[in-house]
């Protein structure tokens, strides 16, 4: 498996998977028309990484608005990470938010609720 990247648009986040660094980054708003297709790629990449890489995986999220299907997709991704964590693999998430939009914190905390792996909600400049 290798790196992949999807350019962001007004309605879909920029997504970048860096296999060598064990990093998956997502940034922007997410209300795409094809959310299943979009997140399927992300999901597949994470599954493959967790199965083959044998190294820690870190998610770096700078997500603002998520529509309902994107919320569902993110919860599926966190479930996948939770299962990997329970299987002894090193996974972690940083959810970065703009200080001018504090409400993203509450939302990130909602996502974090059921996760037992390291999940930080931190402000960025």
């Amino acid at each position: 498996m290798n790196d992949f990247s999807i350019a962001g648009t007004q309605s879909s986040p920029a997504i970048r998977g860096d296999w060598a660094q064990g990093l998956l980054a997502m940034q922007g708003d997410s209300y795409p028309e094809n959310s299943y297709e979009l997140f399927h790629q992300v999901f597949t990449w994470i599954e493959a990484y967790l199965a083959d890489a044998g190294r820690p995986l870190h998610l770096e999220l700078r997500l603002l608005y998520l529509n309902t299907s994107s919320i569902k997709a993110m919860m599926d991704i966190f479930d996948l990470l939770e299962a990997a964590h329970l299987a002894g693999k090193a996974v972690s998430v940083s959810w970065l938010y703009d200080q001018r939009n504090e409400r993203v914190v509450e939302l990130a905390e909602e996502f974090k609720e059921d996760c037992t792996f390291p999940f930080d909600v931190v402000s960025h400049d």
């Binding site: 608005y65 998520l66 309902t68 919320i71 569902k72 919860m75 939302l107 609720e113």
Partner: protein
């Protein structure tokens, strides 16, 4: 019952084993019946074992389905909860955007966009119901002097204080907004020239009482005004032009005064 059966089985087994019974005419059918009985018992045994296995599989499946259903329901609830919060966030952002796009960033009163919307509504209403409105254009006298002598910060403070006085002193149905720079527009719905003049003179009086302290100095301002009443069939931009001309006239006649627009001159 079971003991009776076991005793009976033991008795028959020993009878069938006894050599003395070999010649008994009942020996043959009894031994066949005995075997058939054993066959039946083995079958019942197998059937119960298979049935038990099926039952335990079904039980397990039911439990895992219930577990999955519960998990899905929990997830659905969570998705709905998070989604509601995102929608609320969007709703609030929309409200903030609407407020920002219709209000002046410095003074917080209506901006030119909102004034334009309301003017259009009033013009339409006038067309339908024949209710005429008046427009007053106000301009701070010698504002440039304040900016030049005290800097833009003081000028801005003056505008903020002034806007607050204007907004407080107009009637509830009037709309006061910043038209640009140190120019303000007051829309007076269903108001003729005389009534509009009374409102504007009262407003100008309050402005004259306004003082803004800069260090030890007290700054005061006056405003000039031009008022025009909309003529049936006239576009609101033409009414504004007439109010502007009246304002210009007020400036020419020495400032700190209010002039009424004539119905024809543009």
């Amino acid at each position: 019952m079971i003991r009776d059966r076991t005793a009976l089985e033991e008795r028959i087994a020993s009878l069938l084993e006894a050599p003395a019974q070999a010649e008994n005419p009942l020996y043959e059918p009894l031994s066949q019946l005995w075997e058939a009985h054993h066959d039946m018992m083995r079958r019942i045994d197998r059937i119960s074992r298979i049935s038990d296995a099926y039952q335990s599989i079904a039980k397990q499946r039911e439990m895992s389905l219930a577990e999955r259903l519960e998990k899905q329901l929990r997830q659905l609830e969570k998705v709905a909860r998070i989604s509601d919060r995102y929608q609320q966030m969007m709703h609030d952002l929309n409200k903030a955007l609407r407020q920002a796009s219709t209000h002046d960033a410095l003074t917080g009163i209506a901006n030119r966009r909102l004034l334009g919307e309301r003017l259009k509504e009033e013009a339409d209403r006038n067309k339908r119901y024949g209710r005429s409105f008046s427009i007053a254009m106000l301009d701070v006298d010698l504002f440039k002097r304040i900016n030049d002598q005290h800097g833009h910060d003081v000028g801005d403070r003056m505008l903020v204080e002034l806007a607050s006085v204007l907004e407080t002193e107009v009637r509830e149905q009037d709309l006061c907004g910043r038209w640009g720079g140190e120019e303000f527009l007051i829309l007076l719905p269903e108001t003729d020239l005389d009534a509009a003049q009374q409102v504007i003179e009262r407003v100008r009086e309050r402005v004259r009482e306004l003082t803004v302290r800069v260090d030890t100095e007290l700054l005061m301002v006056t405003v000039s005004a031009g008022i025009a009443q909309q003529i049936p069939g006239e576009s609101y931009s033409r009414t504004i032009s007439r109010a502007d001309l009246a304002l210009l006239q007020a400036k020419r006649l020495g400032r700190d005064r209010c002039e009424l627009a004539s119905e024809t001159a543009v």
